[in-house]
């Protein structure tokens, strides 16, 4: 077919196949250009501006008047306990939520991978939290956590676990626990679906052989299943960690700008928009970008440099 096309072309065009390939490449760049321009405009350019603004004393709405101040914003940021508090909160949230979501996600996936009646119902039900907008999830859970009328307190008092209502979202430590629980509810389905897809690719005869050899299910899981789904699990954990490090919506909805639960993104947006301090807020944003980038690279390296995979 290719030869035919070339012959057809070269009949009226002496430069022949070379020019066809070149024309295709030119067309490719032409069709690619709008996407590249759009991504440069909404991605690279704003990022570059944020980096520049972080080196100035820009105020919101008058960034044109900004003066270059060097690394002053970063120097202030490093000495700002509020910032470190936000970094700590983000780490607690990221480690807590991703760890629980991974463990629960694997359990959910194992259940959904088993053969039983009603399995499709479980798979459909698990998509519901995923479909609910994050803002709505935050409000729904905030209502359930309500100290006076919330169903969480009513249920816990009902079964005798607590004797008086707890102000879940007002207490510093409890608020973070409450936010993590909400995120776990919302995001475990994503984890479970990824793990389920990986489980379904494990050939059945592997389990069959293990069963015939009388290996206990727990050993089968840790010795056979887990190593086989590890690559997918790693990818899922990377995606979730990157998301968790950027968390904004849920925290903003459930505890607003409260310092007790403020994450890095909450801190940066508050400086940028509420305090109109674009220079300082941008410096925080750049640090978030660097932290997220460093974590991505670290994960990629860790995933690639495992000896057993290198040997493959």
């Amino acid at each position: 077919m290719t030869a035919q096309a070339t012959v057809h072309r070269s009949a009226g065009d002496p430069s022949g196949a070379m020019s066809l390939a070149r024309r295709r490449t030119r067309a490719a760049w032409l069709f690619l250009a709008p996407t590249l321009v759009a991504l440069a405009a909404v991605g690279l350019w704003p990022l570059a501006r944020t980096v520049w603004l972080s080196l100035t004393d820009a105020r919101l709405g008058q960034t044109g008047l900004a003066r270059f101040v060097g690394l002053d914003n970063y120097r202030l940021l490093i000495g700002d306990p509020e910032w470190w508090n936000a970094v700590w909160n983000t780490l607690v949230f990221a480690v807590g939520s991703v760890a629980i979501e991974t463990a629960l996600g694997v359990v959910f996936a194992l259940v959904m991978n088993a053969r039983f009646r009603g399995r499709t119902l479980v798979r459909a039900a698990i998509l519901v939290p995923w479909a609910i907008p994050l803002v709505v999830s935050g409000k729904m859970w905030a209502w359930m956590y309500n100290d006076l009328y919330g169903v969480v307190n009513a249920a816990l008092i009902g079964v005798g676990l607590i004797s008086a209502p707890v102000a879940w979202l007002a207490d510093a430590d409890l608020a973070m626990v409450a936010i993590i629980a909400t995120d776990v509810w919302k995001t475990t389905p994503f984890m479970a679906l990824l793990v389920l897809a990986a489980l379904q690719m494990v050939p059945n005869d592997v389990y069959e052989a293990a069963r015939l050899d009388g290996v206990s299910p727990v050993r089968v899981f840790f010795r056979i299943t887990l190593p086989l789904i590890r690559p997918v699990l790693l990818v899922a954990i990377i995606f979730r960690t990157l998301d968790a490090l950027r968390i904004f919506d849920l925290v903003y909805i459930m505890t607003s700008n409260s310092r007790q639960t403020a994450t890095m993104s909450i801190f940066a947006r508050r400086e940028l928009v509420e305090f109109a301090d674009v220079g300082y807020g941008s410096a925080a944003s750049v640090l978030i970008f660097l932290i997220v980038g460093a974590v991505t690279l670290a994960y990629l390296r860790a995933a690639r440099l495992r000896p057993e995979e290198a040997a493959r």
Binding site: W45, A131, P133
Partner: protein, 275 residues
């Protein structure tokens, strides 16, 4: 015995998962049907179920308008991403040129940017273009989320289409535009459907840009409107109408997701599983 016990355990776990997944939404529905003082009572069945909360959000607040805004922004985001990504996918999936792999990685990297890291630059862009508090501000800024994955999914799909189709068209003298729209597009139903859904969900759910780039009901979308429903103090939050609003915007999403369950799951997992 050794076979029955695990089966019971499995069913118990499955039931626990279903309850865990559905209870919060069910509770929101129950609460939204309670009016007056009944909402402060934690009983699972509303004594006098009424739709008054639903009527209230449309009568007392411009909730209808914010739903229209969200639909416009969602449709605009989907349309713009698809048009741009189709062209890009043709170039990246069908034409062998140098730097193709690098470009794909750069496009992927853009989707990894923390939203807040582009916030101040994006705010400048939006105001400089005169788009503040308009639908266009959100449609343009949402491209940073939707364009990378739309381009990736469509590229992967287009790359796997048979070579002969394109060559036959080339022989007939068709240009790339004809090849994309007349030959590839009709075959790409599944890929278009799953990217449309995922891009729409992203636009429908997005909060930070919507909160920052809109000011009035002119362009305010549903998540911002719901976030802004509040009372004079935290003890006066109108929980009934708030839950009614939450249920109203969530039901269509749940319906969409359940109807297109397969497409969404395959779209979500394709990248991770195939590596």
């Amino acid at each position: 015995m050794s076979r029955i016990l695990p089966a019971i355990g499995l069913y118990a776990l499955a039931c626990a998962i279903v309850v865990f997944a559905l209870f919060p939404f069910a509770w929101a529905v129950i609460s939204s049907l309670k009016t007056g003082a009944a909402i402060f009572d934690a009983s699972p069945i509303p004594a006098e179920p009424s739709l008054r909360n639903y009527a209230a959000i449309f009568a007392e607040q411009p909730f209808g308008r914010t739903i229209v805004n969200s639909l416009v922004v969602g449709a605009g985001t989907v349309a713009l991403s698809l048009v741009l990504a189709l062209g890009a996918a043709y170039a990246l999936g069908r034409v062998a040129f140098r730097g193709r792999g690098l470009l794909l990685m750069v496009i992927l990297a853009v989707s990894m940017f923390p939203q807040v890291a582009v916030l101040s630059g994006m705010f400048e862009l939006v105001t400089a273009l005169g788009l503040y508090d308009t639908h266009a501000a959100l449609i343009v800024s949402y491209l940073i989320f939707t364009l990378p994955f739309t381009t990736w999914v469509l590229t992967t799909f287009m790359r796997d289409l048979p070579k002969e189709l394109e060559e036959a068209a080339l022989v007939d003298g068709a240009g790339p535009l004809i090849i994309i729209t007349r030959i590839f597009l009709p075959l790409m139903g599944p890929a278009i459907a799953s990217t449309t859904l995922l891009a729409f969900l992203v636009a429908w759910n997005e909060f930070l840009f919507a909160l920052t780039f809109t000011l009035t009901t002119n362009a305010r979308t549903v998540p911002v409107a719901i976030a802004l429903i509040s009372g004079a103090s935290q003890y006066e939050v109108p929980w009934g109408p708030l839950m009614a609003a939450s249920v109203t915007v969530t039901l269509p999403m749940i319906a969409l997701v359940l109807v297109f369950q397969r497409k969404i799951v395959s779209g979500l997992t394709a990248g991770a599983v195939k590596g």
